[in-house]
């Protein structure tokens, strides 16, 4: 700018105009720079900062608000047994949801006005009440077991938008409710939401192995162990959404399919499992067993678990329910003690926190039930270590043979006790077994003999075999909750204080291992010396059946040699054929095994067990059956309330024999009869009616049958049993001569408690036939009939074959340090 005097001097118009024009030019140029360039510089910088520098931040913000992420549930895989029978499956069920607030909103207050057009609250309230009533009635019609009171109470919750009225509705019920909703137009506040439920078609069968699923997924058993395999991967549907939550299907949509869970195929066989569970039930009832029991069945050559039963059991469909009556009783008996304790604790609390008696009672009940539930969910086979008792002697035998410290020719003298460092340890037979061979020592389950064998091995070697047989490690089975087992350390065992331990360990006492460790170690004794890792899951496969993962038997180590194993099998077979295990005898099957009775540290608490395998020359199956705590008839008594001597040989062995026979039958293992057995095998009666007595005699002799005659005459007029019926070999056929006519029916005599011969003749006298089972063909006088298939006094058709179960009293009870 120029100053005023200059301007004044510029009188010339042209000059002024030119000046003015220059001024406009300069000022415009200035504005041009400011507006055309200057203003844009901060804009570009700001734009850069936002869309380039802070892009990641904004991108994240954008993603957070613009995307809708809906998860799609994956179908949980099925669990099938070895034959493909479904043991656990998932299905869609429905939950019924009510929104009480919306229910009220559905009744328009404008429809309820009085004459002046003012809202009539009372009428509206009544209309709402009617609607509620209508729904309650409708639902009650579909589900008569509905708790009306609680339903009505929940309908009253006026501020609630989400009340789950019913859960786990199955399709037919859901359909009925759907129709109800449609008919009454209640979809606005009453609706079904899908959910899934786990079904266990076999109910309680193998419940501890299968476990169950709760709201958080697999909680116990295989369901928990294979949670990752079974549950699959939930899918996701990611879509864009508008600010008002409408879905936008555009290029930002992303669909991740749900990957369904894999199906598991088990080594477990539901049939064998049911045999195992039935035998447990049977034994528990027969011996008045208080703490249940377990029964493990394994393929000794692979470690595949064929059955794993544990009692008490539960129904995984209703896993919180305590179904076992013994367990219920036990839980009930715990309540007062818990209650007393709670009451004492309660008294300590300040007054305002104290609970009422009723509340305490309730709490005590809840705690007792919770404990009982834990008990029923536990799998005894791997989570409850027990004293293996005499069954452990088989392992000591194998170790001793392997180490060469004993041989079949060695003899052991048993005076009825053994002195260890001045302490007297008794044999189960107080008067002593006397001089016996190695095999006899095993047959007799002689404690002193085994203590001598233990001494020969020495503590170090003995402990080596503890380790080799896997007693100090988990078996690695694919089930959760496995315990370690042995809690003796090598230090202790080989020390001076541990000296007594070596003696007691020699006959399987004073230490605990898990049943699974025991059966696997025993398997290695008889299968050629191989210790396998047990397993329950054979394979995992997808929906198309393609196998994703297959379990091969895992050999952990060879413990003893093939030859040692062979020698052990031979000796163990004689335990059943001639020794303490002969109640496990089953005609036609060569069963080997070892009995066990272990007294726990608790008084009068015995665990009776039997470890059996068959066929003895080529074991296909090994069974460990145990009953925990048969109730003694009186405190300190060796007899159960049901009159059975409390020992593995008298209780577990016959049951195990029965279940082994069932399993072998099921597995189609061919029977091999010895000569004596063949004689007793069923034969088909020939047609002798119409023949002379002499002809009849020859025909019957061909079949190994004897006869007696009734009436006078030469010609047989009729016969009992009729021609072509099956009777045990050696039975006496009744031939009716002349006018003599057989009775139609007769009363069955009582044979329980009789010896084999006495029972046989008693039945045959009455016109029946006896099929004996339960003990070897060598029926000594000690063998007594335990039960008969048709009870005494019942009427049966003449000629009926009565099954009689024999058992032999064996002395293999617990004996230890006095």
């Amino acid at each position: 700018m120029t100053n005023r005097p200059d301007r004044e001097r510029r009188e010339d118009r042209g000059e002024r105009r030119a000046y003015s024009k220059r001024m406009v030019f300069r000022r415009s140029l200035f504005l041009m720079l400011v507006c055309g360039v200057g203003l844009f510089i901060p804009l570009v910088i700001q734009l850069w900062n936002i869309s380039i520098r802070d892009h990641d931040f904004y991108q994240q913000q954008a993603t957070r608000q613009q995307l809708m992420d809906v998860s799609v549930s994956a179908h949980r895989g099925e669990i099938r047994d070895a034959n493909g029978e479904v043991m656990a499956m998932s299905a869609t069920v429905y939950n019924l949801i009510l929104a009480p607030k919306d229910l009220m909103n559905s009744v328009d207050p404008d429809d309820y006005t009085d004459e002046e057009g003012e809202p009539d609250t009372a009428a509206w309230q009544e209309a709402v009440e009617d609607l509620r009533e209508e729904i309650v009635d409708g639902l009650a019609a579909i589900r008569p077991d509905l708790d009306r009171e609680s339903l009505e109470a929940r309908m009253q919750r006026e501020n609630s938008q989400y009340e789950v009225l019913l859960t786990d509705l199955e399709e037919d019920e859901a359909q009925a409710i759907r129709e109800f909703i449609e008919e009454n137009g209640t979809a606005y506040y009453l609706y079904l939401t899908p959910s899934t439920k786990r079904y266990y078609p076999f109910g309680a069968l193998a419940s501890q192995v299968l476990g169950f699923v709760n709201a958080n997924g697999g909680a116990y058993g295989l369901e928990a162990r294979y949670e990752d395999v079974l549950k699959g991967v939930p899918g996701r549907v990611v879509t864009g959404r508008t600010a008002e939550n409408d879905e936008l299907y555009n290029s930002y949509s992303n669909y991740i399919d749900a990957v369904n869970g894999y199906d598991l195929t088990l080594t477990l066989d539901s049939t064998i499992q049911s045999y195992a569970e039935q035998i447990l039930e049977k034994g528990i009832a027969a011996y008045d067993v208080q703490n249940g029991g377990f029964c493990l069945v394994m393929d000794p050559n692979t470690g595949a678990v064929l059955a794993m039963a544990s009692s008490p059991e539960f129904d995984p469909n209703q896993y919180s329910l305590i179904t076992d009556s013994i367990l219920q009783g036990e839980a009930q008996s715990e309540v007062p003690a818990i209650y007393e304790q709670l009451k004492a604790e309660n008294a300590q609390k300040p007054a305002e926190e104290q609970l009422t008696d009723a509340e305490l009672q309730e709490q005590a009940q809840a705690q007792a039930n919770a404990a009982a539930r834990e008990t029923q969910w536990g799998n005894k086979g791997l989570s409850e270590p027990y004293e293996p008792g005499s069954t452990f002697k088989a392992l000591v035998l194998a170790a001793a043979l392997e180490e060469g410290v004993v041989s079949e020719n060695d003899t052991f003298y048993c005076p009825g006790y053994y002195m260890v460092n001045g302490t007297r340890i008794n044999c189960s037979k107080r008067e002593g077994h006397g001089q016996q061979t190695l095999a006899q020592a095993v047959q007799n389950s002689c404690n002193p003999a085994f203590m001598m064998i233990g001494q020969r091995l020495g503590a170090e070697k003995f402990y080596d075999y503890f380790e080799a047989f896997g007693m100090t490690e988990k078996t690695g089975i694919d089930l959760p909750g496995e315990q370690e087992g042995l809690d003796w350390g090598r230090e202790y065992f080989t020390s001076l204080e541990g000296y007594m331990s070596l003696a007691t360990a020699s006959f399987g006492q004073r230490f605990t291992v898990t049943p699974l460790q025991m059966i696997r170690a025993f398997s290695s004794v008889i299968n050629g010396g191989n210790l396998y890792q047990p397993y329950v899951v054979q394979s995992a496969s997808d929906a198309s059946g393609a196998v994703i993962q297959n379990t091969e038997p895992t050999l952990v180590r060879q413990v003893v040699s093939q030859q040692t194993s062979q020698r052990c099998r031979t000796i163990l077979e004689t335990v059943v054929s001639e020794g303490t295990g002969h109640n496990a005898y089953q005609a036609g099957y060569r069963i080997g095994g070892k009995t066990g009775s272990s007294e726990t540290t608790e008084k009068d608490h015995t665990i009776v067990s039997f470890m059996g395998f068959a066929p003895a020359d080529d074991p296909q199956v090994i069974v460990l059956l145990a009953y925990d705590n048969p109730r003694p008839a009186s405190p300190g008594s060796d007899w159960s309330t049901t009159g059975v001597y409390i020992s593995g040989g008298n209780m577990a062995a016959p049951m195990a024999g029965e279940v082994i026979a069932q399993i072998l039958d099921y597995l189609d293992v061919e029977k091999q009869y010895t000569a004596e057995e063949s004689a007793a095998v069923d034969v088909t009666t020939p047609q002798v009616a119409g023949y002379t007595v002499a002809d009849a005699e020859t025909r019957l002799e061909d079949k190994g049958l004897s006869y007696r005659t009734v009436g006078e005459g030469d010609v047989v007029t009729s016969q009992v049993p009729a021609a072509y019926s099956a009777v045990p070999g050696g039975s006496t056929v009744i031939l009716y001569l002349g006018d003599a006519v057989p009775e139609e029916t007769g009363a069955v005599p009582n044979v329980v408690g009789l010896s084999y011969e006495a029972a046989k003749s008693a039945l045959e006298q009455a016109g029946f036939f006896m099929r004996a089972s339960g003990t070897s063909t060598y029926y000594s006088d000690a063998s007594k009939a335990q039960s008969q298939s048709v009870a005494a006094g019942e009427t049966a058709a003449i000629g009926t074959v009565i099954n009689v179960q024999f058992s032999t009293m064996v002395e293999d009870g617990y004996a230890g340090i006095d």
């Binding site: 504005l31 507006c35 055309g36 360039v37 844009f40 954008a62």
Partner: protein, 398 residues
């Protein structure tokens, strides 16, 4: 009216038939095209979800755009010298219309009385903007020939008058009165952003005409002080400033629009999500078709797309000033300066707001924002620039 043969034309008329400035025209059409496409994209979701017809905004806008281009052409054909005498009636007319807004003829939308219903609804302030520019340009171009009244220095009045005349206050007074009147009428509608633009347009013409720096400095100082006082003493303005400083703290409330705008631009990145793929237009940004088209541009076309739009605007503005520099006379130059400065300020305020560079004022983006009358007037203004460009003498060496 039959077209006169060239030989019958006066020099003036011949000049008015010169070629219009093609670069300027191209830039206008380019921005208009991009603007329509982006407005369509930005309005699509709102139109679809709220109005049920995705084409509802674009049809109207395209129609007005078409009419606007026609208006631009027609205006460009007018010899701009006729604007000189039209300036005064336009100014008077605008003031009358603005007064009418405050009568029952005015229409209220969203609590603001900005519209006038004379058969069709429109904002008189839009006309006032251009009327002020034309009026100022027409008067100020004769500045050098204006006689200065002189009083004797002997009287007090004379001395004072002469003093005021010397410092330029006397000259400035009529402009101040007119500007004050118009601004007063607009600001009471209330229409703050309109007032701001009218002031900016008027001021740019005054500035270019050579009014002393000091007046602008003084004016700026007063406005600044007033604004500071306003911000400091009124809670409403304080809140507004806080909002500007940290919109994230108010993201669920008043800061929502700004935050959504920033998210849109930020998520665009370098190259954007692709044309039509904006997510933020899915009802996140309220009314993206109005003031917030630019964030959608950046979200869809990225930093690069936003930069292109800014560069096009800058080129248009530079070319506009270039035309002003070469205009045949000062009236032309000042008119262009007014129109282009108005445009520049509007672009700056809009993009400054959406990028949160400055506090929210609510100014639309020329050629991009939805609004029929505004677009038409904008294009007519461009037509004026083109009309002036016709009379630029060809370079000597050509």
């Amino acid at each position: 009216m039959a077209r006169k043969p060239k030989r019958d034309l006066t020099v003036e008329e011949q000049l008015a038939r010169g070629p219009m400035d093609l670069p300027f025209l191209m830039l206008v059409l380019l921005l208009l095209g991009i603007g329509l496409i982006m407005m369509f994209s930005a309005s699509y979701a709102t139109a679809y979800y709220k109005d049920g017809d995705p084409l509802v905004y674009i049809t109207r806008q395209a129609m007005f755009g078409g009419v606007g281009v026609l208006a631009m052409y027609v205006v460009s054909k007018i010899n701009y010298q006729t604007f000189r005498w039209m300036a005064l009636p336009a100014m008077v007319g605008s003031i009358v219309l603005l007064v009418l807004v405050h009568t029952p003829l005015g229409v209220v939308h969203n609590g603001a009385r900005r519209w006038l219903n004379l058969g069709i609804e429109f904002q008189p302030s839009e006309f006032a903007k251009i009327a002020v520019i034309l009026f100022f340009a027409a008067r100020l171009c004769k500045r050098d020939t204006q006689r200065h009244k002189r009083y004797k220095n002997r009287t007090f009045f004379g001395r004072t008058y002469n003093f005021f005349d010397r410092i330029g206050l006397i000259e400035l007074l009529p402009y101040a009165v007119v500007l004050g009147l118009v601004a007063g009428l607009v600001v009471t509608q209330p229409h703050l952003s309109g007032t701001l633009l009218i002031l900016a347009g008027g001021a740019s013409v005054l500035f270019a005409a050579g009014i002393h720096w000091g007046w602008f400095a003084a004016g700026g100082g007063i406005v600044g002080a007033l604004a500071a006082a306003l911000i400091y003493f009124t809670p409403y303005m304080t809140a507004r400033i806080n909002l500007w400083q940290d919109p994230w703290s108010f993201r669920q409330g008043d800061g929502y629009q700004t935050v959504q705008s920033l998210i849109a631009m930020g998520s665009g990145g370098l190259l954007g999500r692709g044309l039509g793929n904006s997510m933020q237009k899915m009802l996140y940004i309220p009314e993206p078709e109005n003031d917030f088209v630019f964030p959608i541009v950046v979200e869809e076309l990225g930093f690069v797309g936003g930069l292109v739009v800014l560069v096009l605007f800058a080129l248009l503005i530079l070319r506009g000033y270039w035309l002003a520099l070469h205009a045949r006379d000062r009236f032309g130059a000042l008119t262009i300066v007014g129109i282009i400065s108005l445009l520049a300020v509007q672009v700056f305020l809009n993009i400054g707001v959406v990028t949160n560079l400055i506090p929210n004022t609510g100014i639309s983006l020329p050629f991009f924002s939805y609004g029929g009358t505004a677009l038409m007037i904008q294009l007519a203004e461009m037509g004026m620039v083109l009309s002036i460009s016709r009379q630029i003498p060809a370079p000597k060496n050509d």
